[in-house]
Every structure is written in structure tokens, then in C-alpha cells.
């Protein structure tokens, strides 16, 4: 029992990452509303940001600032820098997805996936009749 508890608590950050990741992925796949899908995608990406950030943590380490003390223990800054780039990519993706959702609303009058599928199926059936 103690083993199990240490197993869980020692990997606390990974559990959180996995839970967030699964929530995000589930929303992206299961929701029919295009905006909700984007929100799900955001949660999914955020879990990866957390994964990278917690990865760089060194126990007892401070912020990676040059203090002049050669024995200073500091956290690994590289994953943080990497994830800054990934956050920028995530923002670009979100804004593009939202812009597409706006255009889809203008063109179809709905952002519900099932209604979009019905409209597209009808369009395909109409093409087949020609």
C-alpha cells in the first residue's frame, strides 16, 4: 500500500499531465461544437506545456539566474524556453482554428458538427443526382 502511494505521489506531475491530456483529447474527439473542440485541443496542448515545464524542475533548485556562486543548484531552463515556442505555436493554432470557425459559421450558419455533416451529405447526394 505504501509502495502504491509513493508510486503515485512521486509521479504527481505526470498524473496531472496524463489526466489533463486525456480530458483534452476526449473533448476534442467527443464534442460536436467546433469551439468546444478547440477548447479541448487547448487543454490537450496545455498538458504538454506542463509536462515540459515540470520536466525541467530540479529538486531544491532556484530560478536559472547567474548569481556568481558556482555551486548554485538551478532548474533546467531549456524545456521552459522550448515550451515558450510551443505556446506561440499553440496560440497561432487556436487563432487560426477560431478564424475558421467564424468562416464556417458564415458559410453554413452553424458550428455544430452533426448539422454540418447533414448539410454536406445533402450536398453530396445532390451532386450524385446530376
Amino acid at each position: 500500500m505504501d509502495d502504491l502511494i509513493t508510486q503515485i505521489t512521486a509521479h504527481y506531475n505526470y498524473w496531472m499531465v496524463i489526466i489533463l491530456m486525456m480530458i483534452g483529447l476526449y473533448i476534442t474527439i467527443s464534442r460536436g461544437n467546433l469551439i468546444k473542440k478547440i477548447v479541448g485541443l487547448n487543454i490537450f496542448q496545455t498538458s504538454v506545456f506542463m509536462f515540459y515545464i515540470s520536466m525541467g524542475k530540479v529538486t531544491g533548485g532556484t530560478a536559472p539566474i547567474l548569481t556568481g556562486n558556482p555551486d548554485e543548484v538551478y532548474s533546467n531552463p531549456l524545456p521552459h524556453v522550448l515550451i515558450l515556442t510551443a505556446i506561440v505555436v499553440g496560440i497561432a493554432t487556436t487563432s487560426l482554428a477560431l478564424a475558421l470557425a467564424v468562416r464556417i459559421r458564415e458559410a453554413y450558419g452553424t458550428i455544430e458538427e452533426d448539422e454540418l455533416l447533414t448539410i454536406e451529405r445533402d450536398a453530396e447526394a445532390a451532386e450524385d443526382k446530376i
Binding site: T28, F44, V48, P79, T85, L96, I104, L116
Partner: protein, 501 residues
Amino acid sequence: MPQFIAQHLPILQVIVPLIAAPFCALISVRNGAWWLAFVTSLVTFAISVLLFAATFDGEIISYHLGGWAPPIGIEYRVDMLNAFVLTIVSGTGVLTLLYARASVAHEVDAKQHGLFYTAFVLCLTGLLGVTITGDAFNVFVFLEISSLATYAIVASGAKTDRRALTAAYNYLIMGTIGATFFVIGLGLLYMITGTLNMADLAQRLLEHGDSRTLRMGYAFILVGLGLKLAMFPLHQWLPNAYTYAPSAVSAFLSATATKVAIYVLLRFLFSVFGFSIPFEADILFLVVLPLALAGSLIGAYIATYQDNLKRLLAYSSISQIGAMLIGVSMLSASGLMAAIIHLFNHAVTKASLYMVAGAYAKEAGTVSIRELRGVGRDMPFTTAAFVVGGMSLIGIPLTVGFISKWYLVEAALMRGWWPVVIVIVVSSLIALIYVGKFIEAAYMHPAPQGIIRREAPLTMLIPMWIFAGLSLFFGINSSLTSEAAARAAQGLVAASSLIWQ
């Protein structure tokens, strides 16, 4: 050429289109955006030809960004395989842009042209960057630059058909999940090794040996790239995206985007993971090979039922991607060579075929096979290009398709994989059905009444026939491509730690 430029060729390959892209949106002169994009693509093509020539005798160019030596700094590393893929991408860029002028004028609103070419050049930048870089995280960044630009240019097909918007949206969701999986995999590799330089990663992974983290990293990267390269059954985004995108975009993407993703897969499998643990080779054999076989059959099978010519070609792409993955998962130098040569051959063939579809869309106003009855008489040159490309898809001798099928079958026989040979032959026979279906409609049936169709303009015919001509030329004399593919395969084999039979 000045020494200064020669030294900095690898970075110029990426920087030139990256800087040119925003100016495409700012130029307000009529057709100015197109001219700038076209000139940019010519420059990038010249650079990649120079790099190709420099690496052809086996030399590896290592360029250190900002003078920081790897593994701390970012390294651009050009070898035979890179240079080969760079040439394919930038060459396709030049020809599709030449083609795009007439085609895009028809399919995209005039006021969007500046932004369209901006996104197009950004997409080119991303694809070139993915190919040239030797840094694993850089691959992700460039992959996303190219993907985001791709979603935008796919959506710009909305003037012709609003379904382009939903296609782009679905592509965005799937593509982002793929890219995020790739980043998770990279994170796991970084946890093990503490480095992101590919050569350094390979070295440290070899010393590291087996662990669950490594296996997870491998799985995430494989699935992420599988989504990006439309590996069956992760291909759901591809048919709609290629069908509703503007034709020039379909031609460009089919020849470059999935090919670059396959390149990244090869680079990671052989140069980074290097099969240092048996698990990696097992997954390739147990998971990727069956999926590739299924994809090459099912993709071809679904293609036979399509009435929309562009959708037919999209499903055919899925089948051909399956063929490339079969070559990769053979894990032999000859299988790898077959995959790499097919990468070039399929790029050339599919680009010409999509250009044909675009010419129909412009001149006949439709890509429905039924409505294109008798088009062979009205648009003889365009339809003849389709016949050449179609023969190459089937793999008839004297076309490039035959060359790649030949090497693929030969590689399968060398491993004694008879069932694989049968699958390759059967999928070629199914290709005969779907190509034959269109050719029959185009030549054997009378045209529907009251429809006037003119031959496509020269700016569309020339790039179309350059691709068709290439697929004949390299089908007759394949010494250059097979030599390049063989050397690229040798390079990958030498980098991995597989023991070859």
C-alpha cells in the same frame, strides 16, 4: 559565386522564403505577390540544386546557426537524403507557382491573392526548414509553420466550394494532435538524453539502451508523424483537404507535404532511434507493415468508387503512401531505396495529375468524372498528361511508377516476403481500374451536349507537362534518381545500428 554566399547556403534556403513571405501580402501591384513568390521559389530551387550538387559525392554539410557549435547550437545538416528532398520540394514549388497564376486567379478571390501567396511561401519555408534542420525541436517548429500555412491555403478553396472550410478545420484538429504527439515524444527523448541535436540524440540513445521512456517516446513520435503523413488509418483529413483545396495547392501538397513527413519519419527511425533496441524494429514489422499493406489496398479500393477526380487522386495518394511505408518497414537497404525513389516518383506523378484536375476545374468547370465525359477530344494535351500520370500510378514500364514498383518488388523478394509482393501487384491492378475508369470516360464517351471546353492555357500546360515529361524521362533513364536514392539509403543505413543481412 561569392564565398560568403556559398558558406551560408543552408540558412539561405530557409531565410529567403521566410523574409519574402510577408512582402507578398504587402505588395499591392497587380500580380506582384505572384511575381515575388515565383522569384523566391526560383531562388530556393537554385539553392537546393547547389546543395544537391555539393552533397552528391557523399559530403555532409554541417551549418552552425549563429556560429554556435552543436550540440548546444542549432545545426543545419545537409546530406544526400536532405538535399534530394529539398530539391523535390523547391522544384515542385517553382512549377506549382508557375501553374498557380492562371489556376489561382480562377479559384481564389482576387483580393485574397496577396495573403494566399504569403501562406504558400510560408508553407514552402516550413517544408524546407523541416527537411534541412538537424535539430529535433526545430523540426517541430518548422512542421507547424508549414502546417498552419497549409490549413490557411486549403481553406482558401472556399470560393469554389465551402466544404474547403470544414476540410481545413478537420485537418487543423488532426494535424495539431499529430504535432502535439510529436512534441510529447521529443520531450520524452529529451528527458532521457538532455539533448535535441539529432546526431547527439542518436549517440546518447545508443548508450542509454532500453527503457520504458524510450519506448513511449518512439510510440508518440511514430503516431504523431503517422498523422502528418496520412498513414492508414490516420488519413481521415487527407481526402477532403486535397479535394476542396485550390488545385495548385493540391498539386503542391500532394507532392511535398506528405513526402516531407515521410522524410522526417525516415530521419527519426534511422538517424535518431537507429533501431538500437529490438522493440523499434518489432513495432515497424508488427504495426506499420500491416497498416501500410492495408492502406495500399483499401486506399486504392476506395479510389475506384470516386466520381470526383480530385478525391480519386487523394485516395490513390493514401495507397501510394502505403507503398512507401512498405518499403520503409522492410528494414533493408533495398527497401529503403525503393521508398526513397518512390517518394520522388510519386511526387512527380501526383503533381502532374492534380494539375490536370485543376485544368479541368478551370476550363470545364467541374472535376466530376461523369461530367468530364469526352473531355479527351476538347482538351487533348491536358488529358494526354493524365494518361501519362495514370500509367505511372499503375506502374506501366517506361514510366517512373514502374521503376519504383520494380525496386519495391525486388526488395520484397530479397526478404522472401511473397504476400507483400502480391499486395503490391494487386494494388497496382486496382490502380488500373480507377485510372482506366477516367480514361474510358474521357476518350470513349461522347461529350455532354451544349458544353464548350477549351484547352488549358500554356502557363498551366507547361508545368503539367514538365512533371509528366519528368515521369517519362526518369522512367526511361532512372540512373540519376536511383543513384541518389541508393546513396541516401546507404547513408541512413550507415547511421543506424541495424545489423544487415
